[in-house]
Subunit: 161 residues, 8 copies
């Protein structure tokens, strides 16, 4: 079970892509808002209890001075995937990236590219596939699908000339 | 009463300057380590109770993905001054600055320059001086001292030519 | 009493947010234009006299090579909060941030995030609350309001799935 | 089984930290050099076969235009953790970070902080702990150890004053 | 014969400019899609065989963590020209530039300006002109044409005043 | 008459190069310390009176949030040359550059490269040469000297092979 | 006599502001296109002859890898003012700024803010005013006009509340 | 015949690597100093005549506001390879890179990584190999040598464990 959390409902258009790919890969998930700065008590509750109530991977998206992924990683023993969101108050995304990526020794956050919530979903699936060969097979299929889509487009471009 | 906290004992050489100027200005303070990422429970305890046990201003220094000042500001109603520390794992200080400065609406951190713990101390004193005219007088004196030191150096440079 | 000043009337859409939150928190304030570069004499007058005419905290917003907050801090003993404004002539806000934040030892400016005038207002209120328990209570209420707003949105997102 | 690979033997001082923490957490691993740019055939062989020969997580470190983590992620279905190395030819680490982090949709690399190979090791262990409760317990212990170390240092700093 | 390849069909509006200038200079070329991350096998095939099937120069455009130019350069002995594309997922182009430009010792990529596919085409023509004096003559003509166009515009601006 | 001013005596090693080249070009100058932040009254006095007491060009060097050049330019009608100094508290010089260069419309500062006080001196001489043909001649000589020095080194490098 | 030159007619909307302010200050000027990269011979002719045909100050605007101001400064003994233009091919203006500002020792370019052609015009006027007290008077008037405009706006803002 | 030129003799330690690899690959070359800013006439002579006196490829290295590669490319029809040098006056190399890389449409410079003169040499050899199959063979050998060196180091690392 994956938990997708985000700092604000304004992050939903970005974070929805994580939900979509998990659905595509048939990985169960839940999704909600947890704000490190506006609901710190909720953050603590979420992070302390996630692994005891069946969550296995946390995907956390936030923008600006983005503390949500790092604080969940500080409290929970689960792997945490951070999605830097280029929110309206962010400086071109640099603050989002650096405040999620540059975690100190001992407390990793698995950071993906700016706004790359889909990749966060794939990464969560890859983690869960370590104990689920069928899921790994679906990931392999997904990669093949991407490949064949590109090959078709390549053929089309070559033909058009 | 000012509380000076830092994410790691390796921040002490920088943060000591806050203690020194507070001592110079006769402002009482306490100083300790609170790590957002390694002691999150301690962070919560500290931030929730600071204002009830007499702390009036918090100075928090941290480096890299620096979440300490922002998380204290999220939990406590007190004014929080953030000192971005150019720690060994920081990318020239940019991560420290952006993850402290770029707080979302509703949760300010009063950020000072990179490594500028002395300025954090002065700022804390300025805040406390709002209810202590004698302290404001000492701040005025400190500013005059800085001015006269520069004037002397200017005179010396002019004389040497 | 808080003074909100800005370098240009084009900064008003950003700086108005400081006025709004101060009004919400029932903190008296005045608001005007002081340009460090176009009205330097006015800058000096303002900064030299602010604390003698009842101003307790100064919020100063400016963009580009933003010298207003730092010059007020150089002259006045009051705490100065700087708001880096992403003005039309700014390079994505970097110049605004660095020329406000990176003050030398002895002359702090309490810098908030790019365009974050609301946070400047909250910070000013926090400073004044050090001598006004009722104001601190209103700040606590404001934080609770933010929290409950997020909790509602979180519930809504969970329900929609 | 974790595979630690790096682009050059000059990355070893950084990448050794991944090996050390895996050893500490009793996670089996192998470690070798795979250069995307100098041994591309080896890169392909490694990435194509890793999951069939028992590798479950790949940790890949590289600096400058760092293509190793991304290319392994392109070929292998396994989760890939990227360690941006601040190598001698890197521009303060920015090139290492961006060329590992900013992967396109469909091909994630779990990026950790600059030079943060220890965190890469912890993250790999967290992934493997999804199917190994004992390993999760050792991770919890590790977090407690970090916490108590900080608490001791905090006590010491408080006592010294 | 020049090969123009790009990581995605979304790069075509930029890369078409390379095709246009090559056509203008009467340099034969082919153009297709090769994605380092989605079609790694195709990348290897392309790069290993390009020089044996008559390709003399490769122009490769990609954005974000752009590995295509560098990986072709790793495998092929041919000169590779890299075009950093400011794609939608790029951070203002910085990731595209750094992940193409900052290649390690031994494996050069001839990088041109952001989105500057036309210059990539001219550069390819300049390389081929080393063995084709007529092509060099056409390049000289092209430079003269640019010069006269500017001179006309200069005259026009001077006349308008 | 040129005035060389700097924000701190720690800027002297950089700013001395302005004095040296002015001496070499036989341009009279004075040199002293004026700190915008620590001696704001002195700044105002200096800037208001410079042109009435015979100063024709001001060279102002400062680091970090460097307000000295811009504030002199705000007050004085004279041309002001700004030297961004990479001082110890500067973030690799970026703050120094941006807070001097990015002046708003109406108040220019002629900015030279980071630490390039020699160029500030040459630029001041070029300005004064507009009314002093002999000085222009000395500048032409200086340029010839630079040229011949390079030509000698070029010859030497060619000979050594 | 001031010469305003620009690398491309697409720079005219920015550079026109230099012409406008010079006209306002009654400073004679000429304006044309000189492209360092597309008309290098014209660049040499212009730079070698400018001072002999009565030009006293050169204002040169260019974007991207902007070599025009620096190359004129290399050849001509005249003071050269550089205007970094945020052209369509520029990376947010950073390339324009750095390639104009960071001139080596011996060859200064008086750089103004990004797109700040008006300031380039004022700076040219300030240089020429060193031998024209009437022009200096007009500059003083211009500064007073700016001041009174701001004072009016300040009054208006204060009245509106 | 390759010409290696550099803006200053201080660039020699970096640029020597281009000479070394060309020697290794048995490609004839000449090497000298040409300063765009201090010897502009020499720059013009060099660039105008290079292709008529047998030069086929130009490698140009420079730092800071580095105009040498771009100006040679503006004048000469030959392919020009630019080496951004992290010289003492450079801002961490960013100015060197941007002022070489970001050339306008029509005038390409084949830019290599910061200080990567060796890669410039290899790139020049690759260009010349288009008409010299033996040289291409030597380049293939060089790539194989790099590969086997890495394979040996990989074996050694695996054995040591």
């Amino acid at each position: 079970m994956v938990a997708i959390i985000m700092g604000s409902d304004s992050d939903l258009p970005v974070m929805q892509k994580a939900a979509d790919i998990l659905q595509h890969l048939a990985v169960p998930f839940e999704m909600t808002i947890v704000s490190a700065h506006r609901t710190p008590a909720r953050l603590f509750d979420f992070a302390q209890n996630a692994h005891t109530r069946g969550i296995e991977v946390v995907i956390a998206g936030a923008g600006g001075a983005a503390h949500l992924p790092g604080m969940v990683a500080a409290i929970s023993p689960l792997p945490v995937i951070g999605v830097p969101v280029k929110s309206s108050n962010s400086i071109d995304g640099w603050d989002s990236i650096l405040s999620i990526l540059q975690m100190p020794e001992g407390v990793p956050v698995a950071t993906v590219a700016l706004n790359a919530a889909r990749n966060a979903g794939i990464l969560a699936a890859q983690m869960l596939s370590l104990k689920d060969p069928n899921l790994q097979e679906r990931i392999v299929e997904y990669k093949k699908l991407m490949e064949s889509t590109v090959l078709e487009k390549a053929q089309k471009m070559e033909d058009q000339r």
